[in-house]
Each structure stands twice: as structure tokens, then as C-alpha cells.
């Protein structure tokens, strides 16, 4: 099943996907463009941990002139950087290079501490799509990628849906693609990750306990391009849906 969280007439609703539309819990069926979308996540009692991978596809590492990392390059995002499907992300004035990053996102389903890779999939609630925008003008070599690049308000669209893990038999073989104004600019497959999902869950949970609702953004493949105000950026992962965002 695919789950969403939306605002309609000022009230937050949980909803499910039904024939390309939104089925609200009260039985109403809504069009996708009739509601305001939130990230498809239930609230957590404490701020969720959002881990994001850099350089986790060999081709992207090459594109950025880095050799593939020996261990995961991870940075942390805060909840304020998330936004929903069909929302807007701001390109600051005077910026030269702002690019999307289409990323398979793991949503943790159970408390995960010192999990072994063979058990890793038991700890996953489901999957969604992230567009982890970066503004490269602001890159500095101090805790790189620094928060000014990666933790800006509403700079990480997430959604549209949370797809149950049971409906994604092999998350390590999903096609990803991004289009900008309808033109294909990025294409890859999750099978090309350097550190796969079971590895990442074993690695992180070896030193930090993950809680239900925590996220792992697993990195992006080759093919990032500059995006301008007005551009419509659609990040799409096979079976998970098209996440639409517009640059303003």
C-alpha cells in the first residue's frame, strides 16, 4: 500500500493511494492536485534522525571528481529541510549552481540497534523518493557537505508516497530518473549503490540506534544539472512514484 499525508481545508489527513487518487480515511476520494502534500511520514515523539549519503554511486563520485569512498560519507539533515510533493523550493539570488539529487529513501520501521545485514530488511517500514537539492556555491571544506548547502528550509522534497516495504520486493534494483521540464537529465539504478541498504543499516546501527520514522537517503547517481526558477523537476523511482517540485 502507498500512504500519504496531506492538508485539505486546513486539516491534516492520512491518506492512501487509490487508482491514482487519494483516499482519505473518511472515505473521500481526492485528486492529487486538490490537496497540499506533506512528507509522507507520521510525526515522531523526538526529532527524527535524517541520514543522507554522499557519493554513494560510483558514477556520481566520478562525476564530482572524487574517488569512491572507503566508508559511507554521511551527513545529517533536520526536519525543517523537508517539504512535500508538488511544493516549491527556493533558489537563492545570485547562485550559479543548484542541482537536484534523486534518492531512494529508507524509512525505518522498528528500533534498530546493532542490526546485522542479514536482518536489515526486517527494520524497514517502507520507501519513498527524496530530491536532495544542493546549492554548490555554498560548499566549504568544513564538515562538507556543510549545512548551508544541504540543510536549507524546504530544500528536500520527500514523497509523494510512503510505499510499504512488502510492496517493494527488491529495493536494490529500482530504476531512478529525473526530468527537468520534461527532459530526461538523470537516469540510474539502485543496484549501482556503493554501500547497499543492508550495509547502511548495519553500519549506522552499529553506533547509533535508529528509531521508527528515521530516514536514510541513499545517495544519487550521475546526471545532476543546474536548475533555474520556474523549472519543474520530477524525481521518479520505479514503483514508488513521481515526486514533483518547482524551483522558485
Amino acid at each position: 500500500m502507498k500512504h500519504a499525508r496531506i492538508v485539505y481545508e486546513g486539516i491534516i489527513h492520512d491518506a492512501a493511494e487509490r487508482d491514482g487518487q487519494l483516499l482519505l480515511h473518511d472515505g473521500r476520494l481526492m485528486r492529487e492536485d486538490a490537496v497540499t502534500w506533506l512528507p509522507p511520514l507520521a510525526p515522531t515523539p523526538r526529532p527524527r534522525t535524517i541520514l543522507a549519503l554522499g557519493l554513494n554511486y560510483a558514477d556520481h563520485a566520478k562525476e564530482l571528481e572524487f574517488k569512491a569512498p572507503q566508508e559511507p560519507l554521511v551527513f545529517i539533515k533536520s526536519e525543517g529541510t523537508l517539504t512535500g510533493h508538488r511544493r516549491f523550493t527556493r533558489r537563492p539570488e545570485g547562485v550559479q549552481f543548484m542541482h537536484y539529487e534523486c534518492e531512494l529513501t529508507v524509512v525505518i520501521g522498528q528500533t534498530a540497534r546493532k542490526v546485522k545485514r542479514d536482518d536489515a530488511y526486517d527494520f524497514i517500514a517502507g520507501y519513498t523518493v527524496a530530491n536532495d537539492y544542493a546549492i554548490r556555491d555554498y560548499l566549504e571544506n568544513w564538515y562538507r557537505p556543510n549545512l548551508r548547502v544541504k540543510n536549507r528550509d524546504a530544500c528536500t522534497p520527500l514523497g509523494p508516497w510512503l510505499t510499504d516495504a512488502a510492496d517493494v520486493p527488491d529495493p536494490m534494483a529500482l530504476a531512478l530518473q529525473t526530468t527537468v521540464n520534461g527532459k530526461l537529465t538523470q537516469a540510474g539504478n539502485t543496484r549501482d549503490m556503493i554501500f547497499d541498504i543492508p550495509f547502511l543499516i548495519e553500519y549506522f546501527s552499529s553506533f547509533m540506534t535508529l528509531q521508527p520514522g528515521d530516514l536514510i537517503l541513499t545517495g544519487t547517481p550521475d546526471g545532476v544539472v543546474d536548475c533555474r526558477p520556474g523549472d519543474v523537476v520530477v524525481t521518479d523511482i520505479e514503483g514508488l512514484g513521481n515526486l514533483i517540485n518547482t524551483i522558485e
Binding site: 534522525t49 541520514l51 540497534r113 566549504e140 571544506n141 540506534t209
Partner: protein, 207 residues
């Protein structure tokens, strides 16, 4: 009741003048290539939060941890500081600040949090804050928040330029050089006038 944050906790690197002085010779060299322009921040995730008085587990493989004593600002609404709280920002010692320090700073329990939130009115001017770190009763570090690179209001302004600090978010003022090391069995006490004492004992993590 003891204070616990409800929002994201951010730490600040290189916000004491002596910290910057200690790094100056390296700043133009690789991998940094230039001194930092924006505030250098990191996140202490919720799994790191330890209440005052609780034991903090240290993995058996980690011989010593670095004690990053500081005072942090708690954000209220409309971008104002609601109050201040003591923090014990523990790290596995590391020499490079090139990559985000997740595996050094985000271990379970690695942030001691003071029980007492001092309101902005009670606390007064943050540049007048001082604190003392004791390990097993012996004074190991004395800090004077008059030596910040960005004072509290400048730090808030420069962070606010690129992201919003929401209600309940917490931003540390920074940790000075001379951070003491501690090991399993040690009792760490951080005290500051008006704030009382934040006390945590390190214990070897159960296998």
C-alpha cells in the same frame, strides 16, 4: 522536570578564538583550502541525548572521549532565544574536520543535557557566561564565553541567513580548545553560575 529538547540540536565548531588560532596554519592547506565563511555546524541526533545524572555508555573500542562543554541557546518563537542550558557534547577524538563527524559525535548517549533551563532574562548577557569542567572532582577546563568568534546574536543571524531555527531547536555557542579527555568510570561535571551542575558518568557499553 528536567529539560529535554523538542527540536534539532546543532553544535558549532570553531566559534572560540583560540580554536580558530589553533587551526589557522592548516586552514589554507588541503583539505580545507580556505578558512570557513559560514558558521560550521553539526547535528547531535536524538539518540545522543542523555539527561543530567545518567550514565553515558562508551563503546569498549573507544579508549577516551573528548568532553565538549558548552552552553546552548534554546529557540522560542519569532526567532528569539527562550533560554540557555548546559551541554556536554562528547566526541570520539578526531583530527580532521573535512567530513561531517557523524561517527564521532552521534553515538548513543553522547550529549549530556543540563537539567536547568535558564530563561533569557535570568541568564543575562551570554558573553558574560563562564563555566568549569571537572573530571572526578578535579578542574580540567575553564571557559569564558567572552572569547567567542561570533557572539550569540551574531551566530543566530549568520545561521538564520541559510536556515530557520524553529521553536524548540537548540544551538550550542561552541566548545573551546583544551577539551579534556575522559574514560569509562570517570565522572564529568560541568557547572556555570546560575546553571547549577550537569553531571554524567561514563560507563563501558554493555556488549
Amino acid at each position: 522536570m528536567s529539560f529535554m529538547p523538542s527540536g534539532t540540536v546543532y553544535g558549532t565548531l570553531l566559534n572560540f578564538r583560540s580554536e580558530v588560532q589553533a587551526m589557522t596554519a592548516q586552514m589554507d592547506q588541503p583539505p580545507y583550502k580556505a578558512p570557513p565563511k559560514a558558521p560550521v555546524l553539526y547535528v547531535k541526533t536524538a539518540n545522543t541525548w542523555s539527561a543530567h545524572g545518567t550514565a553515558i555508555p562508551v563503546p569498549a573500542r573507544v579508549l577516551e572521549v573528548e568532553v565538549g562543554a558548552t552552553i546552548a541557546m534554546l529557540m522560542g518563537d519569532t526567532g528569539q532565544v527562550a533560554g540557555y542550558v548546559l551541554m556536554n557534547d562528547l566526541s570520539i577524538p578526531h583530527l580532521s574536520f573535512f567530513r561531517p563527524p557523524v561517527k564521532f559525535k552521534c553515538l548513543d548517549g553522547f550529549l549530556g543535557i543540563g537539567a536547568r533551563l535558564l530563561s533569557a532574562a535570568e541568564a543575562g548577557e551570554p558573553s558574560a557566561f563562564t563555566l568549569e569542567v571537572r573530571i572526578n572532582g578535579e578542574v580540567k577546563q575553564v571557559m569564558d564565553f567572552g572569547n567567542l568568534v561570533r557572539n550569540a546574536s551574531q551566530l543566530l543571524a549568520d545561521v538564520g541567513e541559510f536556515m530557520t531555527l524553529g521553536v524548540g531547536d537548540v544551538l550550542m555557542l561552541g566548545c573551546d580548545v583544551g577539551r579534556p579527555l575522559a574514560k569509562a568510570g570517570d565522572r564529568i561535571e560541568i557547572s556555570a553560575p546560575g546553571f547549577g551542575t550537569l553531571s554524567n558518568t561514563l560507563v563501558t557499553e554493555a556488549a
